[in-house]
Structure formats: C-alpha cells, structure tokens
Amino acid sequence: MSPARPTSARKEPTPRKAGKKTAKTRRKTGAGSPSDRPAAGHRTDLLEAMLRIRRFEERCVELYSATKIRGFVHLYIGEEAVAVGVNEALTPEDAVVATYREHGHALARGITAEAVMAEMYGRATGCSGGRGGSMHLFDASRRFYGGNAIVAGGLPLAAGLALADRMRGQDRVTCCFFGDGAFAEGEFHETANLAALWRLPVLFICENNLYAMGTALARHEAQTDLAMRAASYGMVAWAVDGMDVEAVEQTARRAAEAVRSGAGPHFLELRTYRFRAHSMYDPDRYRDKAEVERWKERDPITRLLDRMREDGEPVEETLAGIERRVAAEVDDAVEAAEQAPEEPVEHLLHHVTSASAEVS
C-alpha cells in the first residue's frame, strides 16, 4: 500500500495542488505534524468513537453466536477510522448514505448504541422499528438514509439528496459510503457522471477494503486504481490511508469544505481492511491469514494510541476511562434491547404505504 496519493482531474480547490508534492504533504499530515496537531481532547474523541464501534461489534459477534441476533451481519472491525474520520467533517445538516456494513457509519453519525442494538434484535425501539435489521439502519432525524444492501444502490440516492440541496441553494453535503465492489456496478459510473455533470455536492467515500465479498480487487477490477478512475469523471479524487483516523479526518474535512463551497463532487478512496470475514456466514477461505495479520498491525485504534503515547499524552488513564464508558454503553444497549417490546405482528402491514403507517 502506498501512503496517501492524490489524483485530480481538476485543480484542487485548496492551495495544495495535486501532484508530486501532495503525497509528501499527506504523509506529513497523516503523521500529525506539530503545526497540524489537533488538541488532545479531539484525539480522545476519535479514540472513543472508534472504540464504541469496535466494542459494539465485538458484542454483536457474541450475540450472533448466542442466536440473539440473526440475519446477515457485516462487521466493520478494522475500518473504524473511515466512519469516524469522515463523520468529523460533516455537520448535522449534511446527509449520509451508507451500505449494509453500516453499524460504524450509524454509530459515528450519532445514532445511539441502544437504537442500533434494538434494531439488531428486531425490536420496536430499533432505529428502523425492527423492519430493517443490521443491513437497513435509518434515522431521518440525523439525515441517515441507510443502510442499503444493494451494492452501489445508495449512490443514485446520494445524487438526488444533493440535487435537492443544490436546487434549494443549501450548502449541505451528501456523504455517500460504498465499497470497492461498487466500481463494478453501472450505478457507480452512472452516478459519478451525473454528479460531476451537474456539479452536485456529493462526497463519495469509497471504502476500499480490497475485497468484494470474497473476490479480491484485482480479480474484480481491470483497473485497480480507483481514485484515478473516479477522477476520469471530472471530479477531484484522492486516495487516503484509511487506517489513519487523523489522515482520514483531515482529508475528508478538506474535501467536504470544497464540496460545500460549490466545487462539485469529491471522491476519496480510503484504503482500509476488514479484520473479520465478509459476514458472520463467511468462512473466510479466500484470503491468506498472514495478510489479515499484516493488516492488523495497522489497526487504526492501536495506531492512534501509539501516536498519542509518542506525543506524551496520558493515554492509559484516558483509555481506561473510555473502555469503561463504552462497555457500559454496550451493556446498557444489550440490556435495553433484551427488555424492549417486540413490534406487534398486528403491525405487519404498517408502513407499506404512508396510509398504512399510522403506528401510535
């Protein structure tokens, strides 16, 4: 993996131009140069947000094994830096469109562990009223538009949300998450063309975890340089180290600001990795265990902790406090889900149309 490497078909909206110099610049920002270094409290926030996702999903594994939760469950473990770093660049007015591997996106967006866990349990208090499950988390109040289990199926929605903002003159960003597998779908290319053609305020976030289910990138794409391909549509595109939460945040912030200021869609290829299998059903036979271990050495949580230690921050107490809070949060979420009422079977046909949606 190369470090961050920008590709741009157009001039970048910021003083940093695309080109040879930028890779160096990014490495520097990724490592947190003294001038760019954020306040220690912010790093703590990033750490807590990543650990919330990690511990939540570790509990999901246990609950799945105990058959408390069912269905397809796609874990985000290893990719936490992407959801957390990107979310830092968004405001509550922005929109988020996510995939079926979206527990991290949902939690980073502020949907509570309790609401997500209740949805995993299929309970009435779940963020989709028990009708969505792990793959279909929604929260209209946070402009969180799923939870789309068709690869690339959310991309056109993102274009439409952004089109509405553009037509009404609102400086909001629609952030659309999708995986490398989406590059093989026509919807990615149709949407990239449409968004660039109409200069829609979309922030495309490609989570390149190197596998489309069990098919390695090089086995599903003729050209594996995804940022370059996105740039060919006439949008600014950068590749970023997706295991470095601070690099993700800084690049996402820059891209989101450009999108917000009317510079048209931006594309980030976040090079990341899932430590777990595609889903809980997946025996994970298609990849080398040594490869997984190599990537685990770049664990985004450990990496941030190491950086904090290097900078002399009081990590151990901080970490202990976060772990306690997060564990309690997850415990409470599970307890609440266990106690939560089931959606009554009499409500089966509610929400098919708005006229059938009158749940009290």
């Binding site: 009708r131 929260d139 056109p156 929605l157 274009a159 949300l161 929400h351 149309t353 708005s354």
Partner: protein
Amino acid sequence: MGDGERPQAAKTTYREALREALRDALRADDRVFLMGEDVGRYGGGFGVSLGLLEEFGPARVRDTPLSESAFVGAGIGAALAGLRPIVEIMTVNFSLLALDQILNNAATLLHMSGGQLAVPLVIRMTTGAGRQLGAQHSHSLEGWYAHIPGIRVLAPATLEDARHMLAPALADPDPVLIFEHGSLYNVSGELLPATAPVDLDHATVRRPGTDISLITYGGSLPKTLAAADELAAAGISAEVIDLRTLRPYDAQTVAASVARTHRAVVVDEAWRTGSFAAEVSARIAEESFYELDAPVERVCSAEVPMPYARQLEEAALPQAPDIVAAAHRAVD
C-alpha cells in the same frame, strides 16, 4: 367522450392533456421538477414536455444522461429531501434498467425505515405496442410493477385521466408510477376545463351494461369500448370497467359489476401468463365465483416478443374482434 352540451369543452389530445397537467404542476408548486432523457431541448421522446423548458428553465425541466438507474435513483433522493420530482422514463422496457431503484429503494424505503422515509415521487413512462417499434419498445409490463407493495400504479386511458391524474399522484406521499400507452398520445377529443380530481383508489364504469363485464385499462380501453359497441349491435349489453389504478386493485368495483352481469372478459395487452389479467381473473374466481354464469375469459397478447411487421404486431395484440369473440363465448 365528446359532450357538445357542456360549456367550454376544448379540443385537445392525450399528449396535450398530459403536458397541461405537467405545466399546472410546475406552476403550482416550486418543489416540482421534471427530469428524464430528452425532456428538455427535445421536448420529450413523445413530445409530451414540448415547450416546458422554455417556460420553466433547465433546472426544473432537466435533461438527464442515458442513465435510467441514476436519474430514477436521484429522483428518489430528491423526494427524500422534500422535493416533488416527476421522472420520465422513455419506455417501460427502459425502466427495467431502473428496476433496482424502483423496487429496492422507492417501494421499500418507507417500510425498511419503520415509516421514517416516505418517497413522494412520480415516475411516468410509455407502455404498450401498436406502433411497429419492435420488441424492445413495445411491451406492457405495468402488471409487473403492480406486483410490488409500496407503490401506486396508474394507467390513464382517457383525456380526462391524462389531464387530471397527475395532481393527485403528486399529492400522494408515496411513489406513483404512471403508464401512458403509446397509441393514446394522438387520441383527440373534447376535454372539459375542470373536473373533480381523479379518484386514484377506484376503478370506474366507462359504459354501463347488464349482460357482461369487460374489464380493462389503459391502451386497451378504446378497443374494448369499440367491442362493446359491436356487441350492442348484436343485442348484448356490455359493461366496460376501466381499472385506472392497477395497484391498489379495486376488487369491489369489479365484483359489483360481475354481480350485475354474471360474466366477465378481462382485456390486457400484456402476455397472458402471469399477467395482470391473471390477477383480475383470480380475484373474480375468489370473490365472485357463485355470481358467474360462465368461465372468465381473457384476451391478452400472443406469447411472443412484439414483432415489427404490421400484420404480425396486429395479430399479436388484443383487438376488438377478439374481445367480441370472447364475449360471445361467455354469453352464448
């Protein structure tokens, strides 16, 4: 349809009636916009939106790339964000490229989100055969869409419905698909300036009768009315039901008609196997079995991809004599 006694009736066509409905909608609500392939500069693949670009500008009459999935999906996203998009798809055959968005998103988001995300979207498209356009421009797939919970499926067959279905469709908080039969665009007649909004929940009786119910919708309505004329000449009083809305299906109007006539012919331009006519027939069998004095007859297209040659296409499609023959089988 013409009624010389009513005042201010204006001569118009189905195409112009659709255009006036669009113009009204764009004028009435600035959240409304029209989007699709060639709807702007070209004036619409079938000329429906001619002149609207000049009146409303390119932001609200929006030419799209040839990307059915992306622009239908963008319509869904814009609807989620509070706009009222009208998306035009050139033909129902092309809509299959957007079927993922229509089924997996438009029809499904409200339910999957536990009622949080309604999709107030209108999608218009051409359907049907009769113009020698061959197999990839001529099929009648609205029955497939009527299979899907979460959407409303409309088939305007008259000038009145072409003119007045759009407003209530836009007022519906959920996705509405409007199927305009290609052979109807040039149909002309008198249209009264203002009628009550079209009732999108119910079928309607286009011609009352006592001996047999002819049940149809969309492009087959004129042929069915012609068949009813011919049957009247033979002393058979045929009632013609225009379903108008395929989903939700109005079983009551159909059952009430069959209770009066005791015989039914279902006319549907789609293929017989798995067609909407199959659904109508099954519902009659379920709900009106003891009213029937004869088996339900169906008149559908031949089970063939629509051919180009004129005589083959005509032979493939339901025609008035086929409807008359089916009625005679039921009555005689």
